[in-house]
């Protein structure tokens, strides 16, 4: 067994640990061994948990309690024991491990070192991320209220307008239309069976009824499989060329996540892959989009569709996220990298997914032809190719997803 450092057996997840630092310094400061060890251990652990939460690991009070209990069973003066006691109780996924290691070094070496900040720089992002927000509400609230009929026909026009060419006021109005969008969910047959009027015989319920009737099987009870929602995965391109549409697409994604939080996953693609499902679960669309914007480090950057798609399939798709799902790629297919890679990854995606939908906002323009290299490479593996440039197109997209 490795005895080279305080933090041994660490696998590939502890590249940043500097062995001499971990653990030693804090005990020198706290002087745990001398007097009142318990008090100091609790303080130290609480302080560490605070550092860890700051680094983005959700180390709640119950987890901290578990860490204290774990230390109680181990040698408190052995830094590697403390390291493992914390890692086993405070972390809840592989993403937490790097942050944990960094925070551990920072706290127990006494250095208030740079912790990895949550990715993304809000001040830049917000401007880019929320074009629909610009001049929110001002445009149509301060003027006179148009009568209902005029408003309704204006809605109708707005539904078909390209979101890239809207004024601030129109965008604000469109935001409200998004709230009314209720994406339908595709369904799939499931294994779990529920009591039903028809279907195969349900032995348990039949016999239970018979027992109640004194052992006479008077009526057969049935059960049948209930369909379950099929997973929907949205991959939204947030690169520079998609800037005019990214906000609307994320709003669409938010509506989809809100409709089926358990079976919808949203990732943004650009130069890297970011999972924003968690952020988009917030009820309020604007707050959800701000949270999503902060999580996305590559707003309006370049596009490496093939590579990012590969990252998605490696980390998520092949494990299960894309299996049997309706995968919706929202992108203009503007690929800087090699289109061979994109074609290969799209073929791989198609083998995993139930259906692949490609949303290209430019498709809504008259005379559009999918000539970009990326589009050409992707189309052979796409089941449905739709536009995504206006409210009406989003409604159509929602229909395509639910019937895919």
């Amino acid at each position: 067994m490795a005895e080279e450092g305080h933090v041994s057996g660490k696998g590939s997840f502890t590249p940043v640990i500097q062995r001499q630092d971990a653990g030693k310094a804090s005990y020198a400061q706290g002087d745990v061994a001398e007097e009142g060890p318990l008090r100091d251990v609790v303080d130290t652990v609480l302080g560490f948990a605070r550092t860890l939460r700051h680094a983005g690991v959700a180390a709640g009070p119950d987890r901290v309690e578990a860490m204290l209990a774990a230390i109680g069973h181990l040698d408190v003066l052995d830094p590697s024991a403390v390291y493992w006691a914390g890692r086993l109780t405070l972390c809840s996924g592989p993403d937490d491990l790097d942050r944990y290691d960094a925070a551990f070094v920072a706290w127990f070496s006494g250095r208030r070192a740079r912790l990895p900040r949550p990715a993304g720089r809000p001040e830049v992002r917000l401007a880019a991320s929320a074009p629909l927000d610009g001049g929110a509400g001002e445009g149509d609230d301060d003027g006179e209220t148009p009568d209902v009929a005029a408003r309704a026909s204006a809605d109708e026009v707005l539904r078909h307008r390209d979101v890239a060419g809207l004024t601030d006021a129109e965008r604000a109005h469109l935001r409200r239309l998004f709230a009314l969008l209720l994406p339908a969910t595709p369904m799939r047959p499931a294994r779990r069976r529920r009591p039903a009027a028809h279907g195969s015989v349900h032995p348990g319920r039949t016999v239970r009824q018979a027992l109640r009737d004194g052992g006479e099987v008077s009526r057969l009870r049935h059960r049948r499989a209930r369909p379950r929602p099929r997973r929907v995965v949205l991959l939204v391109d947030v690169s520079g060329s998609m800037t005019p549409y990214a906000d609307a697409l994320l709003r669409f994604a938010h509506a989809a996540v809100r409709a089926r939080p358990g079976s919808t996953e949203v990732f943004t693609i650009g130069t890297r892959l970011t999972r924003v499902t968690r952020e988009l679960r917030l009820r309020d669309p604007d707050r959800a989009l701000v949270a999503g914007g902060q999580a996305i480090p590559d707003w309006s950057g370049g596009t490496r569709l093939g590579e990012v798609l590969k990252a998605f399939l490696d980390r998520w798709g092949q494990r299960g996220t894309a299996r049997g799902a309706v995968v919706v790629v929202c992108s203009d297919g503007w690929e800087r990298g090699s289109t061979d890679l994109l074609a290969a990854q799209m073929a791989r995606l198609r083998r995993l997914a139930h259906a692949v939908v490609w949303v290209n906002p430019h498709k809504g323009r008259a005379g559009y032809e999918p000539l970009t290299g990326g589009m050409q490479a992707a189309l052979p593996s796409v089941d449905h190719f739709v536009a995504g440039h206006s409210m009406a197109a989003f409604e159509e997209l929602s229909g395509v997803i639910s019937h895919a």
Partner: protein
Amino acid sequence: MLHLVSQTTSGLPADPDALAAALEGTGYLPDQGLATAAYLALVMHRPLFLEGEAGVGKTALAHALAQITGRPIYRLQCYEGLEASQALYDWDFGRQLLHLRAAEAAHAADDPARLEASLYDRRFLLARPLLQALEDSPSVLLIDEVDRADDEFEAFLLEVLSDFTISIPELGTVRAETPPLVVLTSNRTREVHDALKRRCLYHWLAHPDFDREVAILRRRLPEVTEQLARQVARATANLRTLDLLKPPGIAEAMDWATALHTLGARELDPDLAARTLGAVLKYREDTERVRGLPAEALTGG
């Protein structure tokens, strides 16, 4: 034959190192993190949630733990649509009905209350793994690939794992005298709910380093030559760096070494390696890619 090295009075290893030594006695070589995790799971009565790539020894750990503690192991393989009646318990309806008929024939049906009580007797109850593990305490409960079950099932699990009791309305509550040592494994095909993870110790099981992998191969496959074991471990480690669709785990390395040994190899030569690649790579794209590489790409480093 027992492998327990140093024990406390309760029969549990005294510290993580003792547990590691005991595990090594069964042929399972844990690193310090895993030994600490298993030790804490034992003494804190907390379920151990193991995540990691397929084939890194998650399931094998549960079996090794059962072996060193001398406890029976109950395994629940999860899959979509898994129901409480397959995980907790079920009534044997057929036998209940027969019992009722027999009672009628013997004119024993005069006292309905007694008849009903006799219908819901323990002998008509079919215990499934979760109930078995609680009844046969202390035991090891392996809940394999929990990420494959659906979220409804997680709710059941949460209830059982929080206080290790199962209540059967017709019979009463079953409580484990000693909570079972629970090992949950996940291949991470789906994010398991936080509420479940919060009750567990979380451990990410990574691929072993080179020396440990050689040691594991040598221990599990004593007939394989040291030279071959080292070369297979080296080649497997190299394959893991190639960004394949499915990087090989320890299970695949063991399969590969076995395949090579069966073909009479004492060391890894490029020709044999190419012929046995199917034991270690499971995708056509991966096989083609590796075949196209020079031999040093596998054996070097």
